[in-house]
């Protein structure tokens, strides 16, 4: 899946470990308007499963894509409401 969306904000949580990637992603999406997309950059390998789980268990957000790019895990979250 290629990036077919515009990134509104980027959150850099490289270095941070559980639970910070999820917690900071949540806080960052709170500041977005509906339809806007947050890019999250993490080095925590657990963030792939955690952000996926968080997005599916949370209303008002949609996980668009997750990409492993070298040491960095990139997540794309859209705010839907």
């Amino acid at each position: 899946m290629s990036a077919e969306f515009d990134i509104t904000e980027t959150l850099d949580v490289k270095g941070a470990s559980c639970p910070m990637p999820v917690v900071k992603t949540k806080n960052a999406t709170d500041d977005l308007e509906s339809g806007e997309v947050l890019e999250v950059l993490s080095t925590d390998s657990g963030s792939m499963s955690d952000i996926d789980g968080w997005a599916s268990g949370t209303e008002g957000v949609e996980l668009l894509d997750q990409v492993e790019d070298g040491d960095v895990y990139k997540h794309y979250v859209r705010k839907t409401e």
């Binding site: 941070a16 639970p19 910070m20 999820v22 917690v23 949540k26 968080w54 949370t58």
Partner: protein, 190 residues
């Protein structure tokens, strides 16, 4: 003459519109009684105050808050130290009684060994960029997590209500915790 079946054609029978209104009314009160609100709730009882045992309740509390849960963490006995502003920065890791520790219990029991293992753990936490206890508490408070300090153990431990982080609720007891647990979707004792 027996008339078990009500006479539906009687003049005082409710009209279809009246019945529909009554059904709507009942459905509303049912929703009120069962649904309350859709917010999920988690209740944690935190009873331990060692460095390793301080993490699970805080990590779960902040994560649940990220999921939109309403979170209550009731701290009692040694769990109070997690909320104690000064003591929370100096939580210790015991090297005794944990067979996973790299030193035998007989050595671990020597004076000063807890300090050594605590330092080792603190270094690992720093090297790994794991959040500190203080960071997790501040973050959780910002996200609306309710931290409660058990009044009975505050007095038992000779703590003062001002010893705790700003935003910590004091003056609560087991009944509060029980009520929170009864209302919660997830209940945990740590």
């Amino acid at each position: 003459m027996s008339t078990d079946t009500p006479d539906v054609t009687a003049d005082d029978a409710p009209s279809r519109a009246e019945l529909a209104a009554r059904i709507e009314e009942l459905e509303e009160s049912l929703a009120e009684a069962t649904g309350e609100d859709d917010t999920k709730k988690m209740s944690i009882i935190a009873t331990k105050g060692t460095l390793d045992m301080a993490y699970p309740p805080l990590i779960l509390a902040s994560t649940a808050a990220a999921f939109g849960y309403e979170v209550n963490v009731f701290h009692t006995f040694w769990g109070l130290d997690i909320l104690h502003e000064e003591r929370s920065k100096n939580l210790k890791l015991s090297s005794v009684g944990n067979p996973n520790m790299p030193v035998p219990n007989a050595v671990a029991a020597l004076p000063g060994m807890d300090r050594v293992t605590t330092k080792m753990m603190e270094k690992k936490i720093a090297d790994n960029d794991t959040a500190t206890i203080e960071e997790l508490i501040e973050m959780s408070l910002d996200m609306g997590v309710e931290f409660q300090a058990c009044q009975m153990t505050i007095e038992l431990m000779d703590y003062d209500e001002n010893d705790f982080y700003d935003g910590v609720t004091t003056g609560v007891g087991a009944a509060t915790a029980l009520q929170d647990m009864a209302d919660a979707d997830i209940q945990l004792l740590v």
